[in-house]
């Protein structure tokens, strides 16, 4: 039987089996959402062709909105559809009884729901959108070009941020959103493993409640403790004559954060993702039926 923790041959076989089950449970929904780039483009064009006699391509903003909405839908609904059944006594028992280690089940679950589903969705959607834009010139820039090549020009219009403009620009790079995508998937995977019914809705509700509670708790504390410093810093940064050295001397920690926003963002996301992974693991370990 090999190791009780990790056996590569067994892990591979289990992953393949888990992936087949994922295709069987979520394949059609996944296909519908990941091909929306083509179906909505065609429906939109056909609608205008029949009503006005001309073919109108969808605007970039509409295509971006549709991509974000369908992406989020896949991201938040797939964990419940793929692994929500584990809280059911019948299916959960069958899952726990499979002679594969907890680590192997955990890795397979995380890989499928947090990496394979969201990123293959993105890849298929963006590829199809690029193909649509290649065939139909009225389409303009593909989503792929918009996301990966565009420069966030609005930063230049905000004078207050002139000193750390490059730092702010750095956090808008699409690569930095990969860990956020994993984070959303992990949150909803955890919700799928905790709640017995209405998993996605209850996870959303819990996140809203947690967010409001944290705001109610920390906003007054932050305001009382640091309001003066924040105001002083904002005033200094908006002053065109202030030097970077002066700010950094007065607020070394905040300056470091502002200068290294991308690192701070990555570190905080890694920390949160690590915690979420731990909770998913713990839930899997303590799952009983």
């Amino acid at each position: 039987m090999g190791s009780n923790v990790l056996n590569m041959n067994r892990s591979r076989r289990y992953f393949r089996s888990d992936l087949r089950a994922a295709v069987s449970n979520y394949g059609i929904t996944f296909l519908v959402f990941s091909t929306l780039a083509v179906t909505t483009y065609l429906l939109h064009g056909l609608f205008f062709l029949t009503t006005s006699g001309e073919w109108y391509a969808m605007s970039s903003s509409l295509r971006i909105a549709l991509f974000v909405i369908s992406g989020l839908t896949v991201l938040i609904s797939s964990p419940a559809k793929l692994y929500g059944h584990l809280t059911d006594r019948r299916e959960g028992s069958a899952f726990l009884m499979v002679p594969v280690s907890r680590l192997e089940k955990f890795v397979s679950m995380v890989l499928i729901s947090c990496i394979i589903i969201p990123f293959s969705f993105g890849l298929i959607y963006l590829t199809l959108d690029s193909l649509v834009c290649l065939i139909g010139p009225a389409c303009g820039d593909s989503l792929f070009q918009i996301i990966f090549k565009s420069s966030p020009s609005f930063i230049n219009t905000i004078p207050d941020l002139h000193i750390y403009k490059e730092s702010f620009r750095s956090i808008l790079t699409p690569w930095l959103y990969f860990d956020d995508i994993i984070q959303i998937a992990l949150l909803f995977l955890l919700g799928a493993l905790i709640f017995k019914k209405s998993k996605t809705g209850k996870t959303l509700g819990s996140l809203i409640i947690i967010s409001i509670s944290l705001n109610l708790l920390f906003t007054p504390i932050m305001s009382l403790a640091m309001f003066d410093k924040f105001r002083m810093m904002a005033e200094m940064m908006s002053d065109a004559n202030i030097t970077l050295e002066a700010i950094e001397q007065m607020f070394p920690f905040f300056s470091w954060i502002l200068r290294n926003l991308a690192i701070v963002d990555t570190l905080s996301d890694t920390l949160v993702n690590g915690l979420l992974l731990f909770f998913v693991w713990l839930r899997l370990k303590k799952l009983k039926h």
Partner: protein, 278 residues
């Protein structure tokens, strides 16, 4: 070997199993009997590692079930009273899942499914409850595990299927395997189960082989009733009485009568089988 020591388990404040201790020997088909709610299913799920004991311990070949290690899981199979209807053909399910049990035999699965008259090319979510159960029974036996725990396996089976089930159990379980079958259908399974475990609320009333039972208890199938009977019941053509076996004469065990006698004289039976007064 299965060793259970001072096992406790409760659902919140509701204590289901309290200080349960017993040993299950290898190569036997144990029948687990008990009234509703005494913890038969709970005990099976604890043995299968689906629940964690509140106190005490369970050891199966030296392993703790709740650790759920692959080496342990590959040696057991638990067939619950309710099984999931998976969106797969039965044969695909068996091939897909069976690969994780080291001794799984796909040909045996097909053969047992044939004996139980189950169509393995049918999708499991389109099967009737009885067909689904028979698919899982075939799979459970084809896994060739050392320990097989079954919760009400004949529930949902029609009359011919129950007979096929008994046939399959006799033919396809190995001599080294230990089976623990929880059932309310004592009559249906009395031909295959031995020893018998009778579980009471928070106690084990009896854990004995049929030969041990008949040494100490006599089942009288005559028409005359005895005032010394621990339990008596009218049956077509006479009555059945359960008596303390004073003569040492052997008799045929009637599981339902035994169950009722044990429940009426709990302390006496426990003492008898603990060799205190026997």
């Amino acid at each position: 070997m299965i060793k259970i020591r001072d096992l406790r388990f409760s659902y919140g404040n509701n204590v289901v199993l309290k200080d349960i201790s017993m040993e299950l020997q290898e190569g036997r088909i144990y029948g687990l009997l008990g009234e509703n709610g005494v913890g038969k299913t709970t005990l099976l799920t604890l043995l299968a590692g689906l629940k964690e004991p509140g106190a005490g311990s369970i050891e199966i070949d030296g392993q703790k079930p709740f650790d759920r290690t692959p080496s342990f899981l590959s040696q057991i199979y638990y067939l619950p009273d309710e099984v999931p209807a998976i969106r797969m053909k039965a044969i695909d399910f068996a091939m897909d899942r069976g690969q994780f049990w080291v001794n799984f035999d796909p040909d045996k699965f097909k053969e047992i499914a044939g004996v139980l008259e189950t169509d393995t090319s049918m999708r499991m979510d389109q099967m009737s409850y009885g067909q689904l159960r028979k698919t899982y029974i075939s799979f459970a036996l084809a896994c060739n595990t050392r320990y097989l725990f079954m919760d009400e396996p004949t529930n949902g089976l029609d009359i011919p299927s129950k007979s096929q089930f008994r046939k399959a159990m006799s033919k396809y379980t190995s001599d080294e395997s230990t089976l623990l079958i929880s059932t309310h259908q004592a009559r249906e399974l009395e031909a295959i189960i031995d020893p018998i475990i009778i579980l009471d609320r928070k106690d084990v009333l009896l854990n004995a082989t049929l030969s041990e039972i008949t040494k100490k208890i006599y089942f009288d199938y005559s028409t005359a009733t005895s005032p010394e009977a621990l339990y008596s019941e009218l049956i077509p053509g006479g009555c059945i009485q359960v008596l303390v076996n004073k003569s040492g004469e052997e008799s045929k065990v009637n599981l339902e009568a035994l169950f009722n006698a044990v429940h009426r004289h709990k302390e006496l039976i426990k003492k008898m089988f603990n060799d205190e007064i026997a």
